[in-house]
Structures are given as structure tokens and as C-alpha cells.
């Protein structure tokens, strides 16, 4: 579809998702790209590839998302996908302590083996499972139209909101613990739910903000070198929104081809 249009001002950012099997990597991507959730998502074989645009202030980022397979034995394939990545989302499952350990080892590997400037975010997924039965209304916006308002309304530290403590027993990774680790390793940190959409947009938006866009623009000489003083992002009237692009609206979504 709109293949021609995406060329102009957008900056391409390669982002890779890593994490233990079944923590919800593919689901996060599906939420981000199509604002959709499938209860039974097939495991990713090798890796899946999707794209999504993300508007940030006056420019557009085009995420090229590599969603990798989580099972340990696919580990040796991962370098193929994270090479040259500018961003990584390392996902764990808040209801599974072991998945955080795996996430840590991914972070370690990325920090040593991947692109040195890579922006890494830690995402504790399946937040909905540890919240009360009536979750806070999904912050996941209705993408397409909203330009101005509240997508940033609940960044980061949402979870301590009015949760019914009933389900809190399922939680195996306390927020503080993960937050402390993330701070120590200088990672962005979010708790998310691909199911409700909570935290998903924030996750990708915050990553976008941290990407040294000008740096990328400068290095890819093709993008008309608009030397941006706009680099001082994060301030002012931030506008954002996610545009569904061609990949997202396709009927045969996210097939792992």
C-alpha cells in the first residue's frame, strides 16, 4: 500500500525483541503494530519482521521490528537479528521469575556484542495477570487519529495504581526489583500488557525519544541532512501518534515468513 509515502522524512530504526519463550514478544509487537491481541499466538520460528511508524514531535520514526524466537536453542540465531540494531526490547514475564534472569543475560549479551549505542528497554509483560479483574482502562490509544493528547499519560510507573491485590500473588517479579536492575544497567523500564495495551505505546515512544536520531540521520547521508536543533526532545508540546502502515493492516498479519 502506501509504500511510496514512507520514504520522505522518516528515520528507520531497527529494533529487536528478545526474551524467553512465550513471554509475549510477538504479542507486544502485534499490539504496537496492529493494536490487536491474539490469545494463542504461534511461537515465532526464527524471527518475524514487522514495521510501524511512530511520530515523535516533528519527525517520524519508522521502526523495523525483528521479533525473535524465544526458545533457548534459537539463541545462536539471535546475532543475525540484532546486528546493526539501534534499539532492543528485552521482555520478561512478570509472573515468571526465571524469565527475568533470561532477560538479564540478554542484556549482558547485547551490551557486549551488539551495536555499542544500542538503546535497550526492559519490559515486564503480562501485567494484566497481576492486576485486579477490572484493569485500568487500556491506555492503548486508538491510534490513527489522535495527534495531540494523552498517549503519554501513563508512562513507566503505572502498575501501582488501584490493583486488586487478589491477583498480585501471581506476580513473581516485583516492580522495584526489576526497576532497580534496570536503573543499574541503565535500561529503560516498563511494565506492559500486550493484552490490555497498557504501557506498550509508552515503551516504544520512550525508546524513540532516546534514539540518537540526528546521529542516524547524519550517518545515513541519504536522509536530507536536516541538522536538527530539534534534538532537544522530550520537552514542549510533544505530539505523538502511531500510524498504521502497510504492514499493520494486512489481513494475513505478522506471518513469520
Amino acid at each position: 500500500m502506501a509504500d511510496g509515502a514512507q520514504q520522505d522524512k522518516s528515520v528507520q530504526v531497527k529494533l529487536v525483541l528478545l526474551g524467553e519463550a512465550a513471554v509475549g514478544k510477538s504479542s507486544l509487537v502485534l499490539r504496537f503494530v496492529s493494536n490487536d491481541f491474539q490469545a494463542n499466538k504461534e511461537p515465532t520460528i526464527g524471527a518475524a519482521f514487522l514495521t510501524q511508524k511512530c511520530r515523535l514531535e516533528d519527525r517520524t520514526l519508522r521502526y523495523e521490528i525483528w521479533d525473535t524466537a524465544g526458545q533457548e536453542r534459537f539463541h545462536s540465531l539471535a546475532p543475525m537479528y540484532y546486528r546493526n540494531a539501534q534499539a532492543a526490547v528485552v521482555v520478561y514475564d512478570v509472573t515468571k521469575a526465571a524469565s527475568l534472569e533470561k532477560a538479564k543475560s540478554w542484556v549482558k549479551e547485547l551490551q557486549r556484542q551488539a551495536n555499542p549505542n544500542i538503546v535497550i528497554a526492559l519490559a515486564g509483560n503480562k501485567l494484566d495477570l497481576v492486576q485486579s479483574s477490572s484493569p485500568p482502562t487500556p491506555t492503548s490509544p486508538s491510534f490513527e487519529d489522535d495527534e495531540a493528547d494523552d498517549a503519554t499519560a501513563t508512562p513507566g510507573e503505572t502498575p501501582d495504581s488501584p490493583e486488586g491485590s487478589t491477583n498480585e500473588t501471581l506476580r513473581q517479579v516485583p516492580t522495584d526489583e526489576a526497576q532497580a536492575y534496570a536503573t543499574e544497567a541503565s535500561l529503560l523500564f516498563f511494565e506492559t500488557s500486550a493484552k490490555t495495551g497498557e504501557g506498550v505505546v509508552e515503551l516504544f515512544t520512550e525508546i524513540a525519544k532516546k534514539i540518537p536520531i540526528d546521529h542516524i540521520l547524519a550517518s545515513t547521508q541519504g536522509a536530507a541532512g536536516r541538522s536538527g536543533a530539534a534534538g532537544a526532545d522530550g520537552q514542549g508540546n510533544r505530539q505523538q501518534g502511531i500510524n498504521l502502515d502497510a504492514a499493520a493492516s494486512k489481513g494475513k498479519d505478522a506471518c513469520n515468513c
Binding site: A22, A39, C257
Partner: protein
Amino acid sequence: MSTISTHLRKIREPNKDEQLRQSFALTPAPDPVDVDSQKYKIEVNATLSLPQESEEEAYAGRLYLLPPYLAFHSLDRKSTRFTLPLCTIRRVERLNTRTGIFALSLSNWHGMKIIVQITSLRPTADLFCAHLRDALKLELQRGQMKAMKSFVKTCYSETLIPDNTPAGTEDSELVQTEDVAYLCGLGVKFKFPGDPKKLREASKLKLWATYFRTHGRNLTLLRYPQSTRLVQVGLPNRLRGEVWETLSGSLYLRFSNPGLYERILKENEGKVSTSTEEIEKDLNRSLPEYPAYQTEEGINGLRRVLTAYSFKNPELGYCQAMNILVAAILIYMSEEQAFWLLEVLCDRLLPGYYSPSMHGTLLDQRVFESLVKKCLPIIHDHFHEVDVQLSVASLPWFLSLFINSMPLIFAFRIVDCFFCMGPKVLFQVGLAILKINGEALLEIQDDGAFIHLMRDYFGSLGDSAHPNSSDPRTRAITRFQELLLVAFREFSVITEETIATERKQFRGDIIHGIESFSKRASVRNLKDLGNFTKDQAGLIYDILYKAICVVPPPASLQGGSGSPNSGQGQVAERPETRIGLATFKIFLSEIATWARDEKIVSNGFQERVDREVADHELIDRIFFFWDSSRCGALSFQDLVTGLNGVMFNDLMANIEWFFTLHDKDKDGFLTKDELLILSESMLFIFRYEVGDAYLGAVSRFMTNAFEYGDAIHETERLKTSGEAESEKPQELGNNQPYLNLATFRMVVLADEILESFFETDLTASFQLQSIPDGPLATPKSGFFGGLLSTIVTDDNVKRFHKFSDDLGKTIGQHQVVHRPSIGRIDRPIALQEPKAREPLLSSTSPRPSVSSASSSTVLATPSNSTPSLSISPPVPEKDVSPPEITPLYHAAAAAVMERTPFAIDDPQDDDDDDDDDETGEGDTHNPDDKVMDEVLYDCRRTRCG
């Protein structure tokens, strides 16, 4: 956390026999129950024909008796082929034809006749017949004919062709179609994917029925060119499972292992393992849109097949993608059928694809890339230029047989061809995909665009390939048909041999890559490197790896898997590799000079160093000392930490290390026993030092230590109780705290030799050297097999050494000298009279006169204690003897008190030289020509009515 696997080292190319069996869809090695009958193995040249067909339809080829199968392939190895279980043969007749022609007519269970004309020389033909007769008899005795009768009823083709004996021979019994319960897949209940009308189910079934009537079915199927064509147009849904089974050969496995699937399930009921947990995660994620997998029935079947296989093949366990494969297969076949098909897939058709290292996947990706380079160089170059990796798209194609990439109906047709023509199909189709999309591919600039293009292409497979053509028939050709056409027409040059050759070429690289990757990961995952650099840790890893190759750690040490109360989510994905004592000895012998026995052998032809692993309590002690988690096994981290604790020490730290090593209860005191053991340890380390200096030092050490110990205890006692004098000094048991670190240190420092030992020599005796034939050495080209090949050469080297030693002995030139572990003192005489540092000692020592423990007369004069010890200029030993340090030991130990002598086991007591050559009862059976002339074997005679 690191898992170290050496199984890649064991991979080897199949030998000729195995290749042959595989080409007939049989397991590489015969079933254990059939080992006996292998004596009937024989092959002849033969021509195959069917009575109802014309002369031209005869195929020259080769006929093999591979009990319990009779197999044939035409000369081109592809036109015709069969693999007949002997039990399906009812009758063998020698045909009365023109003279000089030796032809057999075989009638099979399905009432069909085939004629094989044996064109080998007459004696060979006779022998073949004799063997065939005997092998048939054996099958009958085993009751296989009976088993076969009920087995074939599980095949749908029996229902398709109800009449058992179309030829209408006297056999035609009443067919009991009623109780026939053929096995079927979920599709029968939950519908098959695709529109049966569009797929032309009915006419396809009819064509197959015709084929089955003339060419046999299930166990008796003959593979003629028509069958390949029928497969290429797509199998009918109801027949698909059975034909997959037959073409892949999993049918034979199911036939020869009745009930095994159920048994495995039963035996492992309720067991939990890493694999079962991984399977559990994916059950709801396997073709979720297919209705059956939204029901318990479908999910349970999937669970059972995957779990059963993970228990059958625990080394492989479960790999994602298998769930998708099995879910797909189960649409067309029953659980048991799927189980055996999965076995064939993992074992033979997709070898190494799903193994923990996925080496087969990686290898075939490399092969595919190489084929692209050869067949589609322009695309390859473009990809190279824009840095696009082929496997980002192609890996899932291979791993899930396109099921995950294409719409199901198309993927299954590729799977049909895959089972029919073998793994080369995946490469042919892959190449065709690239070729068809060639122009568009040359436009792409990055991985992402490549993936997009492929996804769009797969989405359009149902469209017309020539939408603008005026000819409606051309327009009717779908892009999928075009794909198959290109795959099989234009890439017919890709044969099984091509694949085999390519795999051979790249396997070494791939294994090297995987191993260095896991090495890097292991080093990276170390929680604590200590003072080691990463490179040094890498060396430790190499040495560990080598040790594991020699003595693999017992499976029981690999914790994690199967632990019952692992708590949800707590199971590590792969258990950490831990080594046992036996492996550790080899490991340490590569590092510590005293943990090995090195003999310098010269025999007049060569001078060489023979190295053997030493054995001593000291080594065991270090093993348990380093076992931080007290589980009787050491991890890579334990070894690094352990070595770190001794390899960077100064004098004081080494003294403490050695002391603590021997202080079993870690209370800061050595008992008397421990003190003796410690002395033995030193003697062990010094066992090959030249001259008496070290022996003297240890002797003095013992004397002093006991004098001190006693003196201290004397004063202690005096201090604590005035009356103590009346008590006997023996009250202190041999296993009570006796000597503390300070005193030990003092005693050590009183001796120059020991001081220098602890200052530098001990640390220096640990050496990290890169392993020349190490596991990670670049693979020698054309010489795959890494360790295996070095073992082979090692053997040859050993043989050569023995040979030259024997020669040397006969000419009196054979000399063996032990290489010292420290080697600081190379000239025995040069050593000044070993003198203790009197001033240091006497200044603090109260010098008690009596010592209960030591009567040190022998020790006091170490220089003349054992004349045999003064090996001034290395005295040749008469023969290669097991490492002995007895003179040293006896001198010292006898002097102190009687202790159980520590024996040095001969470390090399498990020579596997015994080639038990079971020259068998290979007596060739007298071919009984008389019988041959008539009926070779008539099963009907013994058939139970």
C-alpha cells in the same frame, strides 16, 4: 550458567551401508531384533517388471536382501524403487523361462505379482535365492506374517480398495470391511484445510486406487514414476497421512515397533521435564486457527505426541517448530503415525534441525546460501552488496517445511513432495522462490524489504501466474503451480548427492561456529572471572571442553531436567554442565604439571613425552574443595573460581590455600591425620623431582610440624590446667585440631625449598596452555570429525610409539625418564646440604624433647635413606611402569606412623584394544538347488486359516 555439549563432535557422515538403507527409507542400522538375520544380506543385479506391463516397462537395477526387507532400485536410483517387508511376500517361484534366464516371481499379500530377473552370475543368483528362502522362513517363525495382516488394516488404502485380492485367486476370502478401523487424522472429524472440490479429491483418490491395484499399497507399495507424478499434483486428504508414512518409511518403524508409542506414554506418565514445560507453553500456539486445536481433543493429541517424542529422544527434547509440524501432521494421521513420522523427520530427513544446537538448521542454511550462489549468482551478489541475509527469510521455510510461511494447502503440497523426493525438495523450492521473484529481489535494499516481498509472494500463491494471458488454460495456472514447475524443472540439477556434498563441505565450519559461539556465551555468562582475562577463561573453557570430550560427565550430574518439584517457571532452559571427578582429573592434568605423569621416552629413534593422567587423593581433595555447591560436580564457574584461588597467589596466600585445602572441617586447624595427608600431598607433587632435596624438605617439615604441634599443645595444657602434667600426651587424637595456620606457616617458612615452592612453584605449576588439537581449532578441511579424527590419529600414534619402543628395547636403546613437575632442581648433586633455617626455628621453639608421633631417625638422614632415589643423570627405567613414588613415600611415611598407603592406580586400565572379533557362524548355507527349481517358499502352506 553454561551448557557444554560435545555431541557435535560425534556427528559423522553416514557410511555406505547406512546410506543405502536410508535410500530405502530404512533406519541407518537394522533393528536389534534383526541383527541375526543380517547374515542373509546379499545384493544382485536384477530387472524388475510387472506381469501386466509390457516389456518396455522393465527396469534394470539392483536388488538387495536387507532382512527383514527386500529392496530394489532402478539404475538411475529414482525411477523405480521398492522396500518390501519380507513378511508381505507370500510366495516365491522360479519362473520356467528360456534357458539362461533366472527369474523369480514374487506374489505379495495384496495378491500382486512382481517379477525380478536376476542378472548376476548364476552362483550369486543361487546364493541369493537360498538367503531369501532362509530369511523368509525366519520372518514366518517370528510371526511377522500374522502381525502384518492386522497391521495393514490400519491403513486407509485397505478401505479404499476393499477387495484384498483383485486378481481373484483362490485366496479371495470374505473381506471384513466392517471391523476395519483405519487410522486417521483430525481432519476426518474437523475437516481438512482447503475446498475438497477445488482440490479434486475424488478424482485424485480414484487415480491412487488404480495405482494401488497395480503397484501395491502401504507395505507393498512399489514406487514407479507415476507415483511421483501423483504426489506432485497433491495427495488426496484422506490418503495423505498413509502415503507420507509409506514414502518416508515411518510406516516400517510403526510396523516393527507395535505398541511402543503407547508404552512410552505410559512409562512417562506424569513426568515433568524441561521439554514438557516447553511443550506446554506451545500447545495452544500450534495452528491455533485450525478448529481441532481449539478443543481438548486436538490439544491433548498434540501434547501426547510431542511429549512421547521428547522422552524417546531426550537429547533432542523439544524444539519450537516441532509443535507446528506435529499439529499439521496430526490433521492427516493418528498420533502413533505422527509419532513415527516425527522420528523419521528428526532423525533422517531433517537431521540436526531441532537438536539443541540446531546445527542441522544452520548447516542447511549455509548449504542453501551456497546453492543460491551457484544457481542464482546475480541475486546472491546483490544480497551480498546490500548486506541482506538470506536466512532471515529462508530459515523458517526449512524449519517448518513452509507450513509456517505459506497458506496450509500449498505448504502441504510441498510436504508431499518432500516425503516423496527427499530433503532436496526444500532447496529446490527455495531456489525457485528466489528465481521467480528475481527481479523484485534485485530491488530490495535491506532485510526488511526482503521479508516483505516474500510475505506478499506467499500470500499470492493462489493467484494466477499469468493473469493477462488470453489462453484461459494458461490463466488457470496458479503461482503455486508455477513454483513447483520451476522447482522441479529448473532445479532438477539439485540432487541428494548435491546436498550431501555441500553439507560435507560446510559442516566443519558450522560446528566450529556453534562451538565458538557457545564458548563466548559461556565465558560471558561467568558470574566472576576472578583475575583471569577473557582469553584465559577461554583457555580454561577449551581445556574443560577437551576433558569433557574424553570423559563425558554422567547424565546424572546434569541437574535440572526432570527434577520433580521444580516449581513453576524455575526450570532452567538447559541444565548447567557439571563435571564429575573423572573428568576433573583429566581437566586438571592439562593444567597442573603434577597432576599428570609425563615420561620422556627415548628409544633410539625418537624422543617423546608420554603424558598420562595422574591419580592422587590430592586431586580428589581439590575437586571437593572447589565444589562450592556441594553437589559432587563442578561447573565451569567452579573451575574458574577454583583456579583463580591458586593461580594468582603470593607466598602467604599459597600457604593458606594449601593449608585450607587440607583442613577438611575448615576450623582453622589441621588434625594430625590431615598433617600427614598434607605431607603426602607435597610428596606427591614432588614425586618426580630429581634428587633428595624435596624429600628432605618434607621430612624436616614433618619433624618440625610435629615438634611444634606437640610443643604448643604442651604449653596450652600447662596454661589451662596446672595438673595437666600427669596426663599422658597421647590424649590428643589423630583427628582432633592440632596445628593452626600460623604454626603451619612458620614451619613452611623455616625451609627454603618449601618457601620457594609456595612462593612461586606452586602457582607456576598451574599453566594454561592453548590446546593444539583443541576443540576450537579451525577444522581441517576435508577432515571433518574434530576430536574423532584426532582420536583415530592418536591411536595410530600410540601404535607407532609402541612399535618404536619395542624396537628400541630390542636394541637396548629404550629409556624412560619421568619429567619432574617443578623441575627447579635439575642437578641432584648441586643441591647444598639441605639445611633448615635454624635461627628462625629455634628462636621461637621451646624444643620439646619427646615427640609422640615422630621418631625421626630415618627422616633425619634423608640423603642416604633410599639410594634408588638418586637418579643422577636420569637413570633409565627398565620398562614403562606405572607412576611410582613409593621410595619417596615409604621413606617419609614409614618414619611417621603407619597409615594406609595411598596407592597410585594405574590410570590407564581401560584400554579398549579388545577387538572382540566375533568371527561368526558365517557358514554359508548350502544352496539346495533342488528346492530352488520349484517353489522357493510358500507361505500359504503354513498360513493359519
